[in-house]
Each structure stands twice: as structure tokens, then as C-alpha cells.
Symmetry: C2
Subunit: 375 residues, 2 copies
């Protein structure tokens, strides 16, 4: 165990569901799981200082290989002493592989066995991302957890497309593993694909688990399929992954999806939503979302959420935040980002406590009722 | 003295210049002078949390009557418990009267004896600002120092225009004084006008000093005149104001203008520049301004200013700040605003120390040489 960058320790299993309470040990500290990871796409969690992200309890953040490769460049970050030092964040960092971003480029990219050729969304310059390159970049960044270079296949897609894609992703994973130089410093997580096809998910799982990686992720979900379909896939997917390793559900971070994932035994989640909606004036509260643009908040001199003890709720009213939003002051994004990240991190803290006390389902039901989620 | 909101205490006079070291006592704490006041136009110092502004040593900030009257409205801020509470700032606040802003509206405003009719820059709605209204708004805001409603006359302007304008500003000042209800809670500062004409400046001073206000400001400078002309006017203006009251030079806040003002005996300064240039990627350093857009900083892994101990300089490199600037991350405005405000506040701290030790001119010369200001 000690020669691996990342290990998973199971602390407790909820008696009534698959939910599990654990710790992921990393070179930059322990992560209590299940965990929500704030996203700092371009080496900054938007509108937040790192100390603020740390002080609200975040133990790991996510950053993006695609963006940092294009700007400022991974060699520059290597020269800066790595991403932790560059962005002043000394807890754990997970980097995605860039796969998801280049596949999102649509006509600007082309897939071959070698990798993906694409044009930069910034200046149109031409690049190729391969499994080896994705690892080289992530090793330059120095993240604690590197994600394998994969294809996040579209939805809907037919069986043969998904099969080809999944098998290529498995071959790419092997190349990632071969390219990796320091598994004792940086973990490589494999990504299960297979679309909505159970046979392909099973085959994908069998192949990647066989490579004995330090953690696994379920990819290719939340790509446009109905929620019921996603839950159906999750139902059989989670148990295909090894119980002794961390399990990560990529790009899924709204409260209901997190609850469903945790209930099935997943440990890690990320989503840009809390900071993105913050910049549009939306707050997550214990009674659901509110939009501060709404005129009814103009003279509301109460905090965003009476039950919240974040910086924004301790010091500011809805009326003030609405004013700064309408006035175009950066303060509104700063306060709403703080609040929304705090909300999700606090939700995870409560969830972990509930698992420890074997009352995950009760907490889920209580949360859903207040937040207004219909199962 | 004790029934006045604001009083001035002279601590020391520089032996070789007019520079003076003092304290302005206000209902929200003492202000060490000479002082630079950060600007929070719309009830927020741009890209900064109030604690950050406080922790760098700011004892007073400036906010804008015109903007807050239009949005969110002074009655709303009154209901919120006043501006201090609304924006979470418990040190002193100075509010301008809105005069400068409405006069800047050009064709959208019309001056009469009653006041100024104008159209909102936000939605074109029609309003009138009078001396009485300016006081009503500032009393609703609850600032520690209210500025009189005046006309900041244009440059150049002929003697008769400036004379008419100055005399009307004096009549408006009397109306402000009459409208004021609580001089023990909020000070009213008078504003000297008179353009570049010495006879009119003298007459303006005589009239406003006669009204025995709690402080005085020199207005109508830095409106486009050459620097030498401004200094010539300042040379005879400062001594026209009472020595036992605070003296404020409005809207002037670049280092050289502050030094020239302090040398002549002025106590208070404000300027939006440090936060405005921050949003454009410019940092003030002990060796002059630098623009982080410049490619030469791409791999510069040193702080903005080696001599600075602000948050940005302790934790980040030029390369990182340049990256966030190019990537459009709010972080760049956050870090550069912090740095630039800290720079000016630190400069004032050093200046106060120099005055106490009768070496103001030496400090000025040393600063000018390093910063690259030619006298």
C-alpha cells in the first residue's frame, strides 16, 4: 500500500444502502468521502481565494488538463513548481485528462487510434492529445490524481459505436498506465465507459479493473440521458468496481445526483454548477434554489439561507447580494460562489455523518423534502 | 467639540513643508492622516471583501450618493439599517454628494438655482438632485462624512461662468447646512470651488469657512488642467482653509498628486484608479506601474513587487496573475485590487512615519526616484 500515491480506507457502510463512509489518502492530505470536489478549471476556483475554499472544508479540488495545456501551458506550470504551488493550493488536486473537453469540441476534433486531433477554442491552433500526452501534461501539473484519457461517448449512440469507443478507451488506458512514471506520487484512475449498454459496461469494467489502478471512475453518464436511465445504469455499474478503491462519478454534482450516487456506493463527485449558477445570481438553499434577480428579494433583509453559517450568510442579506448582482459588482459572484460551494460541502458533511449513523436514507428523504426534489 | 461628529487632531507638522500628521475622529473610529480612501462606488470596493480592505489598514472608504440613490435607492439602504450595515463595513464612510456624477452626465442634465435635473445613466428615468435631496440621501445612508452638493465646474471656463457657479455652490452649501439634521452624528464638509482663478478661490474659501463646517474639501481640480496649473492653485488654496479642520482633496489619488497634496497640508485623498487599473491588469509597484498583459511576465515567477507583503505578493507570482488575467478569471482583479490598494495604503503609512520624523521631502524624493516620477 505504501508505494501507492492514493489508497482508500473504508470506515463504515450504511446498513440499509450501498452508501459508504471512507477516507482517500493522498500525497496532499486525506479526503473524507463521500466528497464533493469544487472545480478550478483554469487553476482558480472562480471568484474564490484558495484559503476560502479550504476554510469551508474542501480537501480536494479539480482542475482541467485541456485548459491548462492550452493556457498557460503545462511546461510553464512545471517551471512554476507544479499546479499546487502555482495556484497556492496545498491540499489534493484531481486533474481530468482533457478527454471530455476535446470531445466537446465537436467539428473541431478528429478521433484516431493514436488520439484526438483538435483545434484550440482560444486561437484555433492545432494540437493532438494522446494517452501519453495526457499523462505527460498531468505529470507536469503534478496533480495527486490523474484521470485516464478516454472518450466520453455521446448519447444516444448505437451498440457498435459504443463498443468500438469503449475498447479504444481501454487500449488508451493501458497506454496511460505505461506512460505513467511515478505511481507512488500521482495516482492514475481508470474510467469505465460503455454507454447505456450493460454488456459493454461489464466488459469495460472487467478490462480496466484487471489493470489494477489506484481508483476508478464511471464516465459517460449525465450526457443527456433521462435521469431514470442513468440510475438504471448506475445500479449495475457500481458493484463492478473494486470495493477497496475510490469510486468517482464524473461531472455529476447536483444534490439529487450526488445522493443517488452515494446511495449506490460512489465516493467522489464534481460539478462546475455551484460556481456557474452563482455568477448568474442563483443560490442553493436548504429550501431549494432561489434566483436573486427576482424582485421579491429587493427588500429581503434576511440571509440567503437561515440555516447556513457561511461567510455570505453571516454578513449579508439577500437585498445586498441582489443589489451587487444588479449593479454588476464582482461581489455578487464572490458571495454566491462562497455560499453555493459551502452549501454542497456542508451537505456532504451531513451526509457522511448520516452514513456513520446508519441513517443515510432518512437524511436523504429529509433533504429531498426541504429542497423540493421529487424522487 | 464633543457635539460634533468629526473633529481633527493635529499630531505633528513636518519642519520643512506644509505636510501634517493628524487624526480625524469619527463615529466609526479614528482615521490616521494623511489618508488614502479606497472607493466603494456602489456599496462594494470592487473585487474585495470588506475584511480584506480593513486588514490592509483602511480606516475609511468612500461611497457614492448618485449611484446608491439610483440603485438600490437610499430608502432601501435606510431600511437595511444604513450603509455600514448593508455593506458590512463598520469603519468610517465618506459619501460624495452626487454633484460630480450628475455634472459628468453632460447633455443628460440641466442646472438651475433649485438644483440639477438629470436622467439616470441606468434607465433614462428623470430625477432632480438638490442640496436638500443630497443631504436627505446621505442621511439615509448614514455616512460619517457627507459632502456638500456642489458644481464641479469644467476646465477651461471663463471667469464669469466660474464666479456664477461658485456663488451658487456657496448658496447650495448654506441649504445643505440648513437641511442637515444631526451634525453630532454625521459631519458635513464644504467644498471650495473657483476654478483656476485665485480671486474666486479666495472668495469661495471666505464664504464657506464662515459657515463653520466640520471639514473642508478642495473641489474642481484634476479636471483636465495641466499638473503645473493644479499645483499653482493648490499653493494658495490650502492655507485658505482652517488649520483645525480636516482638508480633503477630492478625486485625486495617483501617488504624485497625493505627495504634492500632502506636502501642501492636505489630509484626505480618494481615487478609483487602483481598483480600476487592477481590472485592466495593471499593478502599482515600488518601481512604477507594470502591465501584466506584457508577454515578458509570462514566465516571471517572482511577486508583483519584491518589497510588498500584501496577500497577492506573499502567495502569487506575476506568471500566475498574468495567467488568470489572460484566462478571464476574476482572480486577477481580486489579486491586483488587493495589491494596488495595499500599495497606496502602505505608501500613506510610510508617508505618515516620514512626517513624524520630519523627513517628508526625503521620503518623497526616494519614492519619486524609485517609482519613476519626474518632478
Amino acid at each position: 500500500m505504501s508505494n501507492l500515491a492514493v489508497t482508500y480506507e473504508l470506515l463504515h457502510r450504511d446498513k440499509k444502502t450501498g452508501a459508504r463512509r471512507g477516507v482517500v489518502h493522498t500525497p496532499h492530505g486525506d479526503i473524507q468521502t463521500p466528497v464533493f470536489m469544487p472545480v478550478g478549471t483554469q487553476a482558480a476556483v472562480k471568484a474564490m481565494r484558495p484559503e476560502q475554499v479550504r476554510d469551508m472544508g474542501a480537501e480536494i479540488i479539480l482542475s482541467n488538463t485541456y485548459h491548462l495545456y492550452l493556457r498557460p501551458g503545462h511546461e510553464l506550470i512545471r517551471e512554476a513548481g507544479g499546479l499546487h504551488k502555482f495556484m497556492n493550493w496545498n491540499r489534493a488536486i484531481l486533474t481530468d485528462s482533457g478527454g471530455f473537453q476535446v470531445f466537446s469540441l465537436g467539428k473541431l476534433r478528429k478521433i484516431t487510434e493514436e488520439g484526438v486531433r483538435f483545434q484550440s477554442h482560444i486561437d484555433g491552433s492545432r494540437h493532438i492529445l494522446t494517452p501519453e500526452k495526457a499523462i505527460e501534461i498531468q505529470e507536469a501539473l503534478g496533480s495527486d490524481i490523474m484521470m485516464a484519457f478516454d472518450e466520453c461517448a455521446p448519447y444516444p449512440a448505437d451498440h457498435s459505436y459504443i463498443e468500438d469507443s469503449m475498447l479504444r478507451t481501454c487500449r488508451w488506458l493501458k497506454r496511460c498506465q505505461d506512460a505513467q512514471t511515478s505511481p507512488e506520487k500521482q495516482a492514475l484512475f481508470g474510467i469505465m465507459q460503455g454507454g447505456m449498454y450493460e454488456d459493454l459496461r461489464r466488459e469495460s469494467a472487467a478490462r480496466i479493473v484487471d489493470m489494477d489502478l489506484q481508483g476508478y471512475s464511471i464516465g459517460g453518464l449525465s450526457v443527456g440521458e433521462p435521469k431514470a436511465k442513468m440510475l438504471e445504469v448506475l445500479d449495475y455499474c457500481v458493484d463492478l468496481l473494486p470495493v477497496e478503491k475510490p469510486r468517482y462519478l464524473m461531472g455529476v454534482g447536483t444534490p439529487d445526483y450526488i445522493f443517488e450516487g452515494v446511495e449506490r456506493g460512489l465516493d467522489m463527485f464534481d460539478c462546475v454548477e455551484p460556481t456557474r449558477i452563482a455568477r448568474h445570481g442563483v443560490a442553493m438553499t436548504s429550501h431549494g434554489r432561489i434566483n436573486l434577480k427576482n424582485a421579491k428579494f429587493a427588500r429581503d433583509f434576511t440571509p440567503l439561507d437561515e440555516e447556513c453559517d457561511c461567510y455570505a450568510c453571516r454578513h449579508y442579506t439577500k437585498a445586498y447580494i441582489r443589489h451587487t448582482l444588479k449593479a454588476g459588482e464582482l461581489m455578487s459572484a464572490m458571495l454566491l460562489s462562497e455560499h453555493n460551494l459551502h452549501f454542497l460541502i456542508h451537505m456532504m458533511q451531513e451526509m457522511r455523518k448520516a452514513i456513520e449513523e446508519d441513517r443515510f436514507l432518512e437524511y436523504k428523504q429529509e433533504f429531498y423534502e426541504k429542497y423540493g426534489i421529487n424522487d
